[in-house]
């Protein structure tokens, strides 16, 4: 068998590369045969001329034999492809406008797919770089039920990590990690950067060696406090330390601790970059052991108070996922039992029902998938639909072209070109077009990918690049699919060609006949465009709803400024004094209209404390109440309205009677139907003095834009937690514009190694809105693209019809048809298509709506406004696309057309 293959290959190669010699040999061989045959007849006494004739007859057609011999050599296919390729290139070069149009159309479709693939691949499919055998590496999630809520938690305690590692046997390696945002460097150079706090075993999961120095060892990562050693990320080493080789042994301030640089990770190494690539890596126990300004979090490795890290584990060979999950769950259960023994307030095993899951290592593929990646996946699907519309468009153009070339095709058929050959040639032309489109699409993807990358993956350093093999593969796939799809229609059509008819009439037929396939393609385009436009409409409305949503505070004019003193040697009184000073200074800065201190900010952190209300058994059971402590101008600064009673005043000091402001929702929950003003709430313990409710504030959204119970209350800063607070500033105009100037003015006021971190509320709320912004933007772009393509398709079909019907229209006009009759005749058809498409598309959108509903905001998938607007837009575009050719139809000069035949 192998020998046969080898012989086959050798033979074909010779046939291919020594074609001249092989052909000459064939000639010689056949000539020899004919001569011998002739001689045979001559010897039988037949005259030479007659002998030659008989030999020829006995042999059959020499050309056919040659052709068949070539087929026997297995070369015909290749030769045909070569010929067809040349033919296709020649005919495409002859019609540059057509070629350009098709290339651009396909480029949009393919480019959109390549760019979106790049995004989705990074979000969902691609394993972190250098990770060894990523299929067997799992991120561990924990499930338990708390107050009726069951969710998969991706972060847990160091103690839990130790338990899971100790109590399971399905995994060969474990590593804990947590990407923290910490100040790196000293003084004005200090920047908040992502720091990978990882266990020493973390590096063993990767195929990597440091480019300089070494990674840290298990001995340097041990409880209670690991060694103060740091491994630099390649990017940080290059940008902040100039890639110098003498950095080893140098000090580096991270958070409040001084570390020694012991190594540099290679360029490709990114750890597990869930959001952003870490700038530097430190032992996880060193971080945990020095977390609180150099003080240790008490018992972080023996208690279950502080859940902050994630873990990955490598499944042993031969262990199935089910076994691994069962193993993890029993370990988690055992660990939970220990927690219950340690802290009796822990929910019981029976109510918590702990279970654990080994999920893929990519966080977006785990149970806590973010909205952005879900939207991205949808938009990738949308890009595929755009490609489909583009293909339908091109197929339609090719069909039109095939009709115009009918006479040429008929001629070739008459000359004996087989239909299979003809189909092959059409297919090759389609593939050539697809390749052209793919090339242009790559350029578009290169440019558009960078834009999309910034939209979808703002935290990633690397954008989507051409050099990426996976993206290229995706483009190749798109090109092949597109080539086959657009080739299909003309090939099918060519099988039905009526030879004699076409030869006679050519492209100029008096009768009017529209191919069913063109109608179907047009309908497909209209339908798909409608679906995309409806999607766009739903996202745009969601975004408008989200943007118009009253959050319970103002976003645009407010800044949130963290004052990190890094310890700075300040005691509690010093901290209070320092913050007071900063507040007074900030108030006087130009542009600042009001300033306040507060201990939490929506979406970034929440604070809670035990609540005791006279007459209510367990406040806890009524919901999760969150607490903000602020200075008197807090409400004015952030823009939260006081609905009843009052806010805080300068009189609400530490020694003054304790007061409280509650949200509307909290008042309604605790005292339904009653006046909340004057009620008593004890905070922290039931022995604490009453805090009297003096005001009711509007509800705020601080955890989710979608559903937020809004159960929160406010205390005067001086009466609750006066030494830890951040600065809120309200400025005239947009906060984003003055961010940097305010940072420059405030930074010099910080003591020691301290620094300020300035964020606008827009920075904080923005990511919450991002998925809707992305959905709206991308659906709109792609939907518009599809619509334009469909409009071009409609236009071309109707224009073609008009050209076909020139004669008929000429006769009508000659017989006295009015302009509006002709216009109506031509546009009616186009509108009928579009109406059918709108109905079909609407039905599909309604059906698909329930899948997209979770990604929308305050809009139902069947929103009538969206459907109405889309239908209107579609009709308008269809009217324009068919009015232009219709107008041209009225210009038909009857005498000229009729004479030209």
């Amino acid at each position: 068998m192998l020998g046969e293959l080898w012989s086959d290959l050798r033979y074909r190669c010779r046939a291919l590369f020594h074609r001249g010699a092989v052909e000459a040999e064939l000639d010689q061989e056949l000539r020899f045969h004919l001569e011998r045959e002739t001689e045979k007849y001559v010897r039988e006494g037949i005259p030479r001329d007659e002998a030659v004739r008989r030999a020829r007859v006995a042999f059959g057609s020499v050309d056919v034999v040659k052709e068949e011999s070539r087929d026997g050599r297995g070369l015909a296919l290749l030769e045909h492809v070569g010929q067809d390729l040349r033919y296709a290139l020649r005919s495409l070069r002859r019609s540059p406008a057509f070629t350009l149009g098709v290339t651009l159309t396909l480029a949009f479709g393919i480019g959109a797919n390549a760019a979106m693939f790049g995004i989705v691949d990074r979000l969902l499919f691609r394993a972190p770089p250098l990770l060894r055998e990523s299929d067997t590496v799992h991120r561990v999630y924990l499930n338990w039920t708390y107050r009726g809520d069951r969710s998969a938690e991706g972060t847990y305690q160091y103690t839990r990590y130790l338990d899971l590692r100790r109590l399971t046997h399905s995994f060969s390696d474990w590593a804990a990690f947590s990407n923290r945002t910490l100040p790196v460097g000293t003084g004005p150079d200090a920047r908040e950067l992502t720091v990978g706090t990882v266990s020493a075993s973390f590096f063993d999961f990767f195929d990597t060696q440091p480019v300089l120095g070494r990674f840290f060892t298990a001995a340097e990562d041990s409880v209670p406090v690991g060694a103060t050693v740091a491994v630099l990320g390649y990017g940080y080493w290059q940008t902040h330390l100039g890639g110098r080789t003498d950095v080893l042994g140098q000090p580096l301030m991270i958070g409040t601790t001084n570390y020694t640089i012991i190594g540099v990770a290679p360029r490709e190494f990114q750890g597990l970059p869930d959001q952003s690539v870490p700038a530097v890596y430190i032992p996880i126990t060193t971080y945990a052991g020095t977390f609180m300004n150099g003080r240790r979090v008490p018992g972080y490795y023996t208690t279950y108070n502080w859940g902050w890290l994630s873990a990955i584990a490598r499944r042993r060979p031969g262990v199935t996922l089910e076994q691994a999950n069962a193993d993890l769950s029993q370990a988690f259960t055992a660990s939970w039992t220990q927690e219950v023994a340690l802290d009796p307030r822990t929910p019981s095993l029976a109510s918590a029902r702990p279970a654990a899951v080994a999920a893929p290592v990519q966080s977006e593929r785990g149970p806590r998938q973010g909205k952005v990646s879900r939207v991205a996946t949808w938009i990738w699907g949308v890009a595929a639909v755009v490609l489909l519309v583009a293909c339908a468009n091109v197929a339609n153009l090719l069909l039109a072209r095939a009709l115009f070339r009918r006479r040429e095709t008929a001629l070739r058929l008459a000359l004996g070109v087989s239909r299979a050959r003809l189909a092959g040639q059409l297919l090759i032309e389609s593939l050539v077009l697809a390749v052209l489109g793919g090339g242009a699409g790559l350029l578009l993807a290169q440019w558009g990918g960078a834009v999309l990358g910034r939209l979808f993956l703002p935290e990633y350093q690397a954008g989507v690049t051409l050099a990426d093999g996976r993206t290229l593969l995706c483009v190749l796939l798109a090109v092949l699919t597109a080539g086959c799809l657009i080739g299909l229609a003309p090939v099918l059509q060519s099988r039905r060609a009526d030879l004699a008819e076409d030869l006679k009439a050519g492209s100029r037929k008096a009768g009017h006949r529209r191919s069913r396939m063109r109608t179907a393609l047009l309908l497909l385009q209209a339908t798909l465009s409608v679906v995309l436009l409806i999607g766009a409409g739903l996202f745009v409305r969601s975004l408008a709803e989200v943007r118009g949503l009253r959050l319970g505070y103002d976003v645009d004019p407010v800044l949130y400024i963290q004052l990190n003193t890094r310890g700075g040697g300040l005691d509690q009184a010093g901290q209070i004094q320092f913050r007071r000073t900063m507040l007074e200074t900030a108030r006087t800065l130009p542009g600042v209209t009001s300033a306040a201190l507060g201990i939490t900010v929506p979406f970034w952190d929440t604070w809670g404390d035990d609540l005791f209300v006279p007459g209510i058994d367990s406040v806890d059971r009524l919901g999760n109440f969150t607490l903000q402590a602020g200075t008197p101008e807090y409400f004015k600064t952030i823009g939260t309205r006081i609905l009843r009673g009052r806010g805080f005043t300068a009189e609400d000091r530490a020694q003054a009677p304790r007061v409280m402001v509650v949200s509307e929702a909290m008042a309604a929950t605790l005292w339904p139907g009653e006046n909340p003003l004057g009620k008593c709430v004890r905070v922290g313990a039931d022995t604490m003095p009453c805090s009297t409710v003096v005001g009711v504030a509007e509800n705020i959204r601080q955890r989710s834009l979608r559903e937020d119970p809004g159960l929160n209350y406010y205390m005067p800063l001086e009466q609750y937690h006066p030494d830890a607070a951040a600065l809120f500033l309200r400025v005239a105009g947009e906060a984003d514009k003055v961010k940097e100037s305010l940072r420059r003015q405030l930074q010099p006021l910080m003591p020691g190694d301290g620094y300020v971190l300035v964020n606008s509320m827009r920075d904080i709320v923005g990511p919450q809105v991002r998925s809707w912004e992305l959905g709206a933007t991308m659906f709109l772009i792609f939907g518009a693209l599809a619509l334009v393509l469909a409009a071009i398709g409609l236009y071309s079909v109707i224009a073609y019809d008009v050209a076909q019907r020139t004669r008929e229209l000429g006769i009508r006009i000659a017989l006295g048809a009015a302009t509006e009759d002709v216009v109506g005749l031509v546009t009616r058809d186009g509108l009928r298509f579009v109406l059918t498409g709108a109905v079909l598309g609407g039905a599909i959108a309604l059906g698909a709506g329930r899948w997209i509903a979770p990604l929308l905001y305050a809009v139902t998938p069947g929103d009538p406004l969206v459907y109405g607007v889309v239908a209107g837009v579609l009709l308008l575009v269809a009217a324009i696309a068919s009015l232009v050719p219709a107008w041209r139809a009225t210009r038909v000069n009857p005498s000229l057309t009729l004479r030209s035949e």
Binding site: W6, R12, V64
Partner: protein
């Protein structure tokens, strides 16, 4: 033309060529002559169809070709059976016998 001549069933031409060549190297015309004679002119092999078959067999490595002087001192392309070709001939002969025997049995049914 008498109609005692038979069209070759599909695929049997290869077998006949292999068999003919098993008697020794031959050029194309001689093979065609030999087929004609041995079958007592019953088998109708269009001479032209021989060559695509020869090229196909050569590609599969069952026969090999070389140029040599023919009897009247002209250069002719001689084909001969390779080792793989001999095996193929044995296999195809066996299959053919089985097939014809089976067909005979069926036709012999009364």
């Amino acid at each position: 033309m008498t109609d005692d001549r038979l069209e070759l069933p599909q695929g049997t031409l290869d077998l006949l060529i292999l068999k003919t060549l098993s008697l020794g190297p031959q050029h194309g015309w001689a093979i065609s002559e030999r087929l004609h004679q041995v079958s007592r002119a019953t088998l109708q092999v269009p001479q032209g169809s021989l060559y695509p078959a020869l090229h196909r067999l050569e590609r599969r490595g069952w026969i090999s070709a070389r140029w040599d002087a023919s009897d009247n001192n002209r250069r002719a392309k001689y084909y001969e059976l390779t080792r793989a070709g001999q095996a193929q001939l044995r296999a195809e002969t066996r299959d053919w016998r089985k097939l014809t025997a089976a067909v005979d049995l069926v036709l012999g049914m009364e």
